[in-house]
């Protein structure tokens, strides 16, 4: 039979791996608007993370604790180095700093309620402390930021701890941002700003530069608060070994290390995705610095940035952290990005799970907004209960893993309980590639 098909075969259209549809759409958006993309949240790109680690449960060489019966403690004390009143927490999961302004009043209240019911702390943010937040938080950490919006010694003395914010994982080296849509009358008054301006906070503290000055600043804060409460130093993860060592040298009670998956209320997308290092990469160097200085467990390490499950908690603790902090996950527990708002996300040009225009103040879930009608959608009692449940589940999950590894306290988890699925994770976490006794950089191989 004669082949009569004379059609010339065509090469299928090939999408560029460099100029992807997402990249191209951003180029078109930039060309149309003349301004960089601003959004909330943390890094969305795939980076080595806790999912790339696995626990080695008990076997012949180790025996487990009885999963449903034997006690596995979860408590942690933060601030044992210098503070007269360290913070005692029932669980090693805390709520990270998020401001009233970035979040609605009911959302802040819900965070306080949920954290308090779970026996942990919550944290203020850029913009000061609200009475509602203090009232609903049994343990409240007061952030001391470069902007000093709303900063005053009276609130400082009401705090259970002070967190000096040097940087944030989403934007190490950058300041906060709150666009005009969210500068309501109350937010403007608290921050001494004109209503409706695009607030762009300073990235450096106005009255100190460098670790030697930081030491004096910590002295001042301790003198003002009578050496009563712990002083944390929070840094965005970039050079974790040196930043941890310098924070210790400056006199910190607690070091908070925030990886690039850590969220922000608003900043440039280019900042979120291209500055800083993954959470997984910052833990071992920070722990190493504490160990080299002989203060591991005396100066506590809190890790944040992309913590989602009890497994993440257990892995962070196994690598040497004393506690973790959650922000984005806590907002999701409250109701952020819930599928029930899908129709409204679509109207805003987004979809469930991807909504990150938190700076625009139109959040259908009523969390990242100052619009009274939207904010009223969030019931702080119910949302607080959801957060409490979530925190409890994370803790139960972490306990399940710890027992399986034979530990009667979450802090007894150790790097030897872990292995890595990828070379990158093995190198960052300094635990062996699964099935081997080797990780990149390990001497003697």
């Amino acid at each position: 039979m004669k082949d009569t098909d004379t059609t010339i075969p065509q090469t299928r259209p090939i999408q560029s791996a460099t100029f992807t549809n997402e990249i191209n759409s951003e180029i078109r958006r930039a060309a149309a608007t003349g301004i960089y993309d601003i959004r909330g949240g943390g890094a969305k790109r795939r980076v080595p993370h806790f999912d790339d680690l696995l626990f080695l449960g008990a076997s012949v060489s180790r025996y487990p604790l009885e999963g449903y019966r034997e006690r596995c403690s979860t408590s942690v004390t933060l601030g044992t180095r210098f503070a007269k009143k360290p913070i005692e927490l029932d669980i090693p999961v805390t709520i990270a700093g998020m401001s009233f302004g970035a979040l609605s009043g009911p959302a802040k209240e819900a965070l306080g309620r949920g954290a308090s019911m779970a026996g942990t702390s919550t944290t203020t943010g850029d913009g000061g402390m609200t009475p509602e937040e203090r009232g609903h938080s049994s343990k409240l950490v007061y952030q001391y930021l470069p902007s000093r919006y709303g900063m005053n010694p009276n609130d400082l003395r009401k705090a259970d701890a002070i967190e000096i914010v040097v940087g944030q994982g989403a934007k190490p080296g950058g300041g906060g941002m709150l666009l005009g849509q969210k500068i309501s009358d109350r937010v403007a008054e608290m921050r001494t700003l004109p209503k409706g301006i695009d607030q762009r906070s300073a990235c450096r503290h106005p009255d100190w530069t460098g670790p030697d000055d930081l030491e004096i600043k910590i002295l001042e804060l301790r003198e003002i608060t009578g050496w009563q409460v712990p002083i944390y130093v929070k840094v965005g993860a970039t050079r974790p070994y040196y930043d941890t060592a310098l924070a210790v040298k400056a006199g910190a009670d607690v070091v908070v290390m925030d990886g690039m998956q850590g969220g922000t209320a608003a900043t440039q997308d280019v900042f979120i995705e291209h500055v800083g290092i993954p959470t997984l990469a910052c833990i071992r160097p920070a722990v190493q610095a504490l160990q080299d200085l002989g203060v591991h467990r005396e100066v506590q390490l809190v890790i944040s940035g992309g913590i989602r499950t009890g497994a993440d908690v257990a892995k962070a603790l196994a690598l040497g952290a004393d506690a973790v902090a959650i922000g984005t996950a806590a907002l999701i527990a409250l109701g952020d990005n819930d599928p029930k708002w899908e129709a409204e996300y679509q109207k805003l040009g987004s979809t469930t799970g991807a909504y990150d225009d938190w700076h625009e103040g139109q959040d259908p879930a009523g969390i990242t907004t100052q619009d009274p009608e939207l904010a009223a959608r969030l019931d702080p009692v119910e949302a607080g209960r959801r957060l409490r449940n979530y925190l409890k589940v994370m803790t139960l999950e972490a306990q399940t893993i710890a027992r399986a590894c034979g530990h009667n306290h979450l802090h007894n988890l150790e790097p030897e309980d872990l292995c890595a699925l990828t070379m990158e994770a093995a190198a960052m976490a300094k635990v062996p590639l699964a099935g081997t006794d080797w990780y990149p950089g390990k001497a003697g191989f």
Partner: protein, 227 residues
């Protein structure tokens, strides 16, 4: 009059003693001897007391002050009266960087010169400098008044919000979005009061007023070159 010797009794004891004074205290006059450049002298006070520091201090003297009058018979290190809420701080000598940084209220008087970033991020404090001030002063200043009887350095009032700046001498350069503004009668009245309270004999009419052009309050691509 109560006398406290820092060299003999330590910094912690000084601040604890001064902070313990309540509104009804009858120990209203304090003299602090031998500060010897110590940091965090007389910080976090919150009572109507009068504290005289006999000598120069280090960082953050009178930080976060409320109600108290703190007089320094010497010069001060960085961050004098930082984040002050109320009260008065008077420095007989010079002040280092960040004088009055982020202050929310009260009056800071510097009878000598102030270094760079004087009044940075001020939020309602009044600052009167009898001498000159350094570069980047009133950077991101949000509210309050900065009065300079001498000259101002580079980039005065960069990224200014609603603070008012008054300079009698020269201004080396203005920062982004800071412009000279009309001196109206209410400003002369305000200036007269501040100068009197600060013990300056300068005349309000000799000053020029500077403030925000308010062009950078919201994002605008056409302003990108301003940063």
């Amino acid at each position: 009059m109560q006398i406290y010797d820092v060299a003999e009794n330590g910094l912690r004891g000084l601040n604890a003693t001064l902070q313990a004074q309540g509104k009804e205290t009858n120990q209203t006059n304090w003299v602090v001897q031998n500060p010897k450049g110590s940091h965090a002298i007389a910080v976090g006070l919150d009572a109507p007391i009068d504290v005289t520091v006999k000598g120069s201090t280090g960082y953050y003297c009178a930080g976060m002050n409320q109600q108290a009058i703190v007089r320094v018979e010497g010069s001060v290190g960085p961050g004098v009266a930082e984040n002050m809420l109320s009260g008065t701080v008077i420095v007989e000598g010079d002040a280092s960087q960040y004088a009055g940084a982020t202050g929310h209220g009260g009056l800071l008087v510097i009878k000598g010169n102030a270094s760079s970033r004087c009044g940075i991020s001020m939020k309602g404090i009044d600052i009167v400098v009898h001498g000159n001030i350094g570069h980047m002063s009133a950077f991101m200043a949000q509210a309050g008044n900065l009065v300079v009887c001498g000259d101002a350095g580079d980039a005065l009032g960069d990224s200014l919000y609603e603070a008012c700046l008054f300079v009698r001498g020269s201004v080396k350069s203005l920062g982004s979005d800071c412009i000279e503004k009309e001196m109206r009668p209410e400003h002369l009245e305000l200036l007269k009061d501040l100068l009197e309270r600060a013990g300056s004999d300068a005349k309000p009419e000799e000053f020029r007023r500077y403030g925000s052009a308010r062009q950078l309050y919201n994002f605008d691509i056409d302003n990108a070159a301003a940063y």
